[in-house]
């Protein structure tokens, strides 16, 4: 018998709907004030510090964290609603979403108390930005191949090596990174990596921007040369990062941001075909909406499991696999359907501009946060095949 995969029909509780209204009202004000254009995902100024602070002031960062760290002790499902409304509106969340989703929870679990008291409230106020330092030039899917060394020295470690594809490193205040503290053992290839909190913008770190095929600059190469990290910046167990890293994956992989990155082209297509679509457009839209709805129900279901304290690693991997494949295909399907949209559609130019960007974005969607192949390996393990 295989492990039963369950996706119970979890519903968002009433208080989430109230919150959703507040988020929509806030975003509408920001749009009216010109902070960002929801129809324009390809802007250059996605780094919006003032917007981050205003989101923080609303209490929407670190929502689930303890109050003593500046959190709100709200539910994971409430956080879910905020995330999806931000994403659907194309809000400039780049500065805060990594810290909110991943880095903060890692610190809560593994950082010493004085560091938590220092950093977490600043995340909650939307003041600081985090990056994730996992990948290296020869270590992506195969994380155990990471070579960047942390060598023990007086009162801390010296770091030497290069991280790559580090999103937001150029604006980040901190990075949570894994470095090699000892060699893997024969019995355990996963041994020897340690998680560290790295303060950016210090001597010994050089951040080199890497252009992306969308024309944007989002990720970087980060070079460490005898960079010093103090002892109290070790996160969790020395040599034991692998265990720590995997338990975070369900949070990183099942959220609404994993199927909504190109969503905007669907809305724009519906606008372009107008209230009386021909059969072909209607069918195309109907299928895409059915697929979207199904994925979202799966994703909410995983959020409910996380809220209940479960670790749905396989289910989360399924959501990311199906979700990212979908968001990758979406712009191409919309392009198919848009081929016959009337020249006179008032938003035709917006749709074309969006498609141009979404088609360029699409290739990365099944790579970032773990490739499709790696996810399918995790699912296969869950099915008892390996």
């Amino acid at each position: 018998m295989t492990a039963a995969l369950r996706f119970d029909p979890i519903r968002l509780p009433e208080k989430c709907e109230q919150l959703r209204k507040e988020v929509r009202a806030f975003l509408a004000e920001e749009i009216a004030a010109g902070t960002f254009d929801p129809h324009k995902p390809n802007r250059e100024d996605t780094d919006a510090p003032e917007f981050s602070r205003r989101v923080g002031a609303k209490g929407w960062l670190g929502m689930t964290w303890p109050k003593k760290y500046g959190g709100q002790e709200r539910s994971f499902l409430e956080r879910y609603v905020v995330t999806e409304e931000m994403r659907v509106a194309n809000a400039p969340t780049r500065r805060f979403f990594v810290a909110d989703r991943q880095s903060g929870p890692v610190l809560i679990k593994y950082a010493p108390e004085h560091i938590k008291m220092d950093i977490l409230p600043r995340i909650c106020r939307g003041e600081i930005c985090f990056a994730i330092g996992m990948s290296e030039p020869n270590s992506g899917s195969d994380l155990f191949a990471a070579k960047t060394r942390a060598t023990k020295t007086d009162g801390g470690y010296l770091i030497n090596g290069t991280k790559i594809w580090t999103s937001s490193a150029h604006i980040a205040d901190y990075m949570i990174a894994i470095f090699r503290t000892s060699q893997p053992t024969n019995e355990n290839r996963r041994h020897g990596l340690t998680q560290f909190l790295v303060k950016m913008k210090q001597p010994g770190i050089q951040v080199n921007p890497i252009g992306q095929i969308t024309g944007q600059y989002e990720f970087n190469e980060v070079v460490f040369t005898d960079f010093f990290v103090p002892d109290d910046h070790v996160l969790g167990e020395v040599d034991g990062a692998w265990k720590q890293a995997t338990s975070e994956l369900a949070y990183e992989r099942s959220g609404p941001e994993r199927f909504l990155e190109t969503y905007y082209v669907l809305t724009e297509l519906v606008r372009a075909v107008g209230p009386n679509p021909d059969t072909r457009s209607a069918e195309g839209i109907g299928r895409l909406v059915a697929q979207l709805h199904t994925m979202r129900r799966m994703s909410v279901s995983v959020a409910g499991m996380l809220q209940a304290g479960k670790e749905p690693v396989v289910e989360a991997s399924i959501v990311k696999d199906i979700g990212t494949v979908w968001e990758q295909q979406l712009p191409h399907r919309v392009r198919d359907l848009a081929a016959f949209v009337e020249e006179t559609a008032t938003n035709r130019e917006t749709l074309e501009r969006q498609l141009d960007f979404a088609i360029k974005t699409a290739p990365k969607l099944t790579i970032q946060g773990g490739t499709t192949e790696v996810l399918r390996g995790i699912i296969a393990r869950g099915l008892g095949l390996r």
Binding site: P9, P277, R287, H293, A380
Partner: protein, 354 residues
């Protein structure tokens, strides 16, 4: 297979396991398993699960009935259980008591229409009616001058041209030619053919999801047994990835179908939100049947293509169920029209409302 935590489902699963084991059923060329199975199901009150006590049924909740249909899908049960349940449910909408024995509903396609004359007689043709040949009675949704009505019809009054669907189950054409029903009553306010198609579509979605759960199950098991190139085929990464995709399709179907069932079970009316859920379930489950079924066959190789093997009991039936109560193409067009009509700015609020 998912474990049941519900007494109706537990009872049903026990009966299915005892009397409708897919391997035994598959080997039985004379269909001699059908009568004992139907009798056991009837004694347990399952075919009339959705009919209240005072109308002759066992009064199970909508939710329990939906879970039962999912279990029936996991066993690829080939007796008119879902059809009788739907018929009983339809009759109960108009407070018509259910008779004993097999029933089915008509029409079973959104495009067919049964009309009711001034004198109460029913006429019209319904294609693709599941198990019409086996049914003693039909629950019929008809339309007349004064709106929709629901009728109980004696099956012997109808002309039936038998047919088989892709899954080798009866899918018949039923013609009513001025047939006087046993009972006829007005349908409740707002109840129309779309309501019935959505309900039937969700029933089929749950069955498809169940069949996919079993296809995943037997495919994983087979991959762990079959040896090629001196390895279990489950050790090949290509096979693992195929099975991971099958798991994804199975999970998507189950999520869509159970979500739609939950929506109907808790809804006050068949509003746009229920429409989104039910239509989406039928569309997504049909897509999953196609993609998932193909993978299950791929993993099984030639053996899965034989009549002797049980795989086709699930795969072909799941493919056949796509056609009942509106195909995915039908629902996609209708859902697309609804979305377009509400306008672009209403799309996300509708999706997020679920």
């Amino acid at each position: 297979m998912a474990e049941s935590d519900n007494i109706v489902v537990e009872t049903a699963e026990k009966i299915f396991a005892d009397l409708a084991d897919p391997q035994t059923v598959n080997n039985d060329k004379k269909d001699s398993w059908q009568a004992p199975l139907w009798q056991a199901l009837s004694e347990a009150g399952l075919p009339l699960a959705w009919v209240p006590d005072d109308l002759g049924g066992s009064g199970a909740s909508l939710a329990d009935g939906f879970a039962l249909l999912n279990a029936a899908g996991r066993f690829a049960v080939a007796v008119p259980l879902a059809e009788t349940m739907l018929a009983g449910w339809l009759l109960a909408q108009a407070k018509i008591a259910s008779p004993e024995g097999e029933m089915t509903v008509l029409p079973a396609s959104p495009k067919d229409r049964i009309t009711r004359d001034a004198d109460g007689a029913l006429s019209g043709r319904a294609r693709g009616v599941p198990f019409a040949k086996a049914a003693k009675h039909f629950a019929v949704l008809a339309h007349g001058k004064d709106g929709a009505s629901i009728a109980l019809v004696d099956a012997s009054k109808a002309r039936i041209e038998t047919g088989l669907n892709v899954g080798y189950d009866h899918s018949d054409t039923v013609t009513l030619n001025k047939v006087q029903p046993v009972t006829v009553k007005p349908a409740p306010d707002g109840f129309d053919q779309t309501t019935m198609m959505l309900m039937g579509g969700v029933a089929r979605s749950l069955q498809i999801a169940g069949a996919l759960e079993s296809m995943l199950d037997i495919s994983v098991r087979y991959s762990n047994e079959r040896v090629a190139f001196e390895k279990k085929i489950s050790k090949f990464q290509a096979v693992q990835h195929n099975l991971a995709r099958l798991a994804g399709e199975s999970a998507a179907a189950l999520a869509a179908a159970t979500s739609a069932a939950d929506a109907i079970a808790n809804a006050k009316s068949f509003d746009d939100a229920v429409y989104l859920e039910a239509a989406s379930a039928k569309i997504r489950c049909a897509e999953a049947a196609e993609k998932g079924g193909a993978i299950a066959h791929q993993v099984h190789g030639a053996i899965g293509f034989t009549l002797e093997h049980i795989l086709h009991r699930y795969s072909l039936r799941a493919l056949a169920w796509r056609d009942d109560f509106g195909s995915e193409s039908h629902w996609a067009v209708e859902l697309g029209k609804l979305i377009a009509n509400r306008g672009a700015d209403e799309l996300w609020p509708l999706v997020a409302s679920r």
